[in-house]
Symmetry: C2
Subunit: 364 residues, 2 copies
Amino acid sequence: MANPSLLILAGDGIGPEVMAEVRRVIDWFGANKDLTFDVSEDLVGGAAYDNHGTPLHDDTMAKAQKVDAVLLGAVGGPKYDDLDFSVKPERGLLRLRKEMDLFSNLRPAQCFDALADFSSLKKDIVSGLDIMIVRELTSGVYFGEPRGIHREGNERVGINTQRYTESEIARVARSAFELARKRSNKVCSMEKANVMESGILWRDVVQEIHDAEYPDVELSHMYADNGAMQLVRAPKQFDVIVTDNLFGDVLSDCAAMLTGSLGMLPSASLGLPMANGRPKAMYEPVHGSAPDITGQGKANPIACILSFAMALRYSFDEGAHADLLEGAVERVLADGARTADLMGPDGGTPISTTEMGDAILAAL
Amino acid sequence: MANPSLLILAGDGIGPEVMAEVRRVIDWFGANKDLTFDVSEDLVGGAAYDNHGTPLHDDTMAKAQKVDAVLLGAVGGPKYDDLDFSVKPERGLLRLRKEMDLFSNLRPAQCFDALADFSSLKKDIVSGLDIMIVRELTSGVYFGEPRGIHREGNERVGINTQRYTESEIARVARSAFELARKRSNKVCSMEKANVMESGILWRDVVQEIHDAEYPDVELSHMYADNGAMQLVRAPKQFDVIVTDNLFGDVLSDCAAMLTGSLGMLPSASLGLPMANGRPKAMYEPVHGSAPDITGQGKANPIACILSFAMALRYSFDEGAHADLLEGAVERVLADGARTADLMGPDGGTPISTTEMGDAILAAL
Ligand SMILES: CC(C)[C@H](C(=O)O)[C@@H](O)C(=O)O
Ligand SMILES: CC(C)[C@H](C(=O)O)[C@@H](O)C(=O)O
């Protein structure tokens, strides 16, 4: 059988730096675990714009559709701030999500024991935290039409449309319930059904899918504003949270920050099964392109490495190898390896991106 | 000159309980400070629905338009969960906001010294916190058309419209800049200009108003997801935050929870000046109707009392009297008075709603 294929889109800022460490991890699995991938690389975001005048070339899009999984670094940077909306780095990312139809975005917010002190929250509130936010990723106000800025009389008007169909809600709800069954069997769905009709439909459909197909899973509903509060107040009350594209964007970042270590958090974006049974998939760290530290060897590669671990688990059914990699990361942290973002108030000497990669390879 | 007029809409759940304490405070100012209000009362939310079959009677709406300020308690409760969207308790509140055109919603997130331990965040991250969130309150996805749930083929589709005109953005921006000038002269505007055109217009208009009218104020822009993160990571970096209706809903609740004591936080919703120069205005606590503790005398009346202090300041230009009232509240807290919501992990005996009212009157 052919090797599974990976497309690496390292992107902008620290993207290429952290991805370099992922490549070494991929090579390690090839050399030591007989797990070899066909790896290709291409451009996305500002890097693609600089070369092709578009944040995602059609050829790259076509490649992404064909591979078993895409690994993405990060997109964006101040250099591109004044570009027209249609060619901003983010459009490349959004096009990948939309055209690959990656409707289910898994964002774990997990607090690593060794790092519980880094949170701005009290240790007992976050230690042991392990939430999975399932964010709808291909619809809602990110993609709804009509949209744009136009003139009405003598003023400008900005419009976006929040739009959800029943089937769009149903499929991401299923994905959340499936995940919950492998975890604590508990889902909390968040919307603003008290003010938005799209929220009412969201709530109704999630409830219907639950009652018809997942009655064994414990389901609750919460308004998204209360959700933000509860995440800050007592995050451990949650296991799986399912929510729409925009609320998911804000709430998952809020949840991520609870852990205090953004440089640690991976994500998976999953679509429908391909002919080979694997889901369309893209994996990326939750952190951004971090232009302020780009090129200084300071970036923490762990979020990107753990995104590859998610790829092993969700695309390649290699749960044991994912565990192995995640275990290596935890050991390295427990041993005190710290990149600059993980320096506590008492200081210490940070190690570089490559040194963190070295440490993880050694632990493997 | 006629006494200034107040319309009290105590609403549902703990609304009437906390409002009873506000009435005593109002009476105290009449008896001791020669500051007498013409107070009337009426129904809103579920209470109005129970009596009139609508969450806000037209007569009540008309009264609200005429008074100098409305004081609102809280709306909603499980009893009304299955009502049709059009008559839900929340619609009464939203109608007041919309028809009174209360476009500028001020939500202070302030951490009281005596209560810094109640926050789920570390004390040094939140002690002394004093943020003002200015939320646009009469437009955006809460009110945009088209909206609703309809059928397309054989499935339902839920739609809401995010819509902002230039002048809607401009007026709330001005209100934020004015406030900033009385505080630390710093505004951070939040949107998702990287994915929403309405966010691009928001950012542009805020910047234009700044450059033309408030160049002395320090202005920054942040994506709303990053805003949620930064609020959790280091909230004291902010002074005034200005944002749209939906982001404001979620971010202000997130900010409120940072303080650890939701029962403490007031809000003001301000509109255009009336003929007498006072702005159209409604004041309400940030907390909800708290059905779980309704009728038990457990509710904390402070948020509602501090909302009246905001009324003194913003509607009646009685800053000194507002200071007096706020000072009394701080003293009472420093002396250790605690309602049930303010019980720390070490326990203690909570005082009742009325006892908290007694303590504040005594401190005055
Ligand atoms: C970069 C941006 C377009 C993106 C989003 O808003 O979805 C990011 O914030 C994310 O959460 O992945
Ligand atoms: C009760 C509800 C309609 C309201 C809102 O969403 O605006 C509330 O959450 C608030 O923030 O005042």
